[in-house]
Subunit: 204 residues, 2 copies
């Protein structure tokens, strides 16, 4: 058994003397192991050990570790794209849509922290990873367009380079995966602090 | 020979048919290899191959790879602490000192990019790495104190959590190691863009 860590999900309920996993709870375990050990260096045996299951029990849920990676990266990316689809992100002045997207992205990272953490570690070592990187870049581009449009509408300072600003915004937001820990009182206002830095920080 | 990459330093001048390294130019090569491959997975043979030298030629400069790591991390940390020692960072209202420290930190990252990139990858796997992490945390704490003091002096919004704001500032600045590439025209104003995000973004 691997040692429990601060980020390990709580174990599932038991079925007899074996943990009773759903694909979703198995995915939680897999994502933690992938992030700690690196996807390429994780074997199905490692996943079985971490879950307290036999390898064949894992194959009952998924065809292999690649399917777990796909499920995990899709979960992160679906959460991010859901932010762009919110009504407040699709109508109104660009600066208001940008504000909503920044707030929603921070909340998506908080809600799906282990999945987005894994997404940000992906380097494109397989078709699955390349597809995830392509979707992630598309998300970044759509936010960059919002910054650009807000600038065109006079709500972002003219002297700011929109692409650079977008990178700094994502630098700030993505850093959550390095230091955010759930449940800390002082972090309750985190989404609004990020919104303030972006909105007031870029204002003309 | 390893393939040259976008981040590889230019080769040193030749001495006969061998590259003529100083400890400093050898360090440039080592830092690039450490960052690409990971320090723990880099052997002296890897360094010799990347430099086009024999292992014994490298031992002429340093006692081993640990000394190269120490030199590299010290270079990054010395650059950061030099920012805190600048006159504009030590006198005047805290918000002005913070502004100068943010500007100086961005410039230090730009000037010492490969060294700071390596510093940010360090996870504390040896006494050398632990010592570097301790110094880096001390730097972060001193900046956190500046944010806190600026807030006490009424120049940072009262509703912002100073520790959270400090983490977001470093998230933004440290992300440079992921995307900054020297020589791009649109990045010339990068230090002032970060200053704007911090100063206007945190203003009451």
């Amino acid at each position: 058994m691997t040692e429990p860590t601060a980020t390990a999900p709580k174990p599932p309920r038991m079925r007899g003397n074996r943990p009773a996993y759903t694909t979703e709870t198995l995915l939680e375990v897999a994502v933690t192991v992938f992030t700690e050990r690196g996807y390429d260096r994780t074997s199905m045996a490692d996943l079985a050990t971490a879950a307290g299951l036999s390898k064949s029990s894992i194959y009952h849920h998924v065809q292999g570790k690649e399917e777990l990676l796909t499920l995990a990266l899709d979960r992160a990316l679906d959460a991010l794209f859901a932010v762009l689809a919110q009504p407040q992100a699709t109508t109104g002045p660009a600066v208001d849509r940008l504000t909503q997207v920044v707030r929603g992205t921070v909340n998506a990272l908080i809600d799906e922290l282990p999945y987005v953490t894994l997404l940000l570690r992906v380097r494109g070592n397989s078709p699955t990873e390349l597809a995830a990187l392509t979707r992630r870049r598309r998300f970044d581009q759509l936010v960059a367009i919002l910054v650009h449009d807000a600038q065109q509408q006079g709500d972002v300072a003219a002297e700011v380079d929109a692409a650079t600003a977008t990178r700094l915004i994502f630098g700030m937001i993505n850093s959550l995966t390095e230091w955010y820990r759930p449940g800390r009182q002082e972090l309750l206002d985190l989404p609004e602090t990020v919104v303030r830095l972006v909105r007031s920080g870029l204002a003309p």
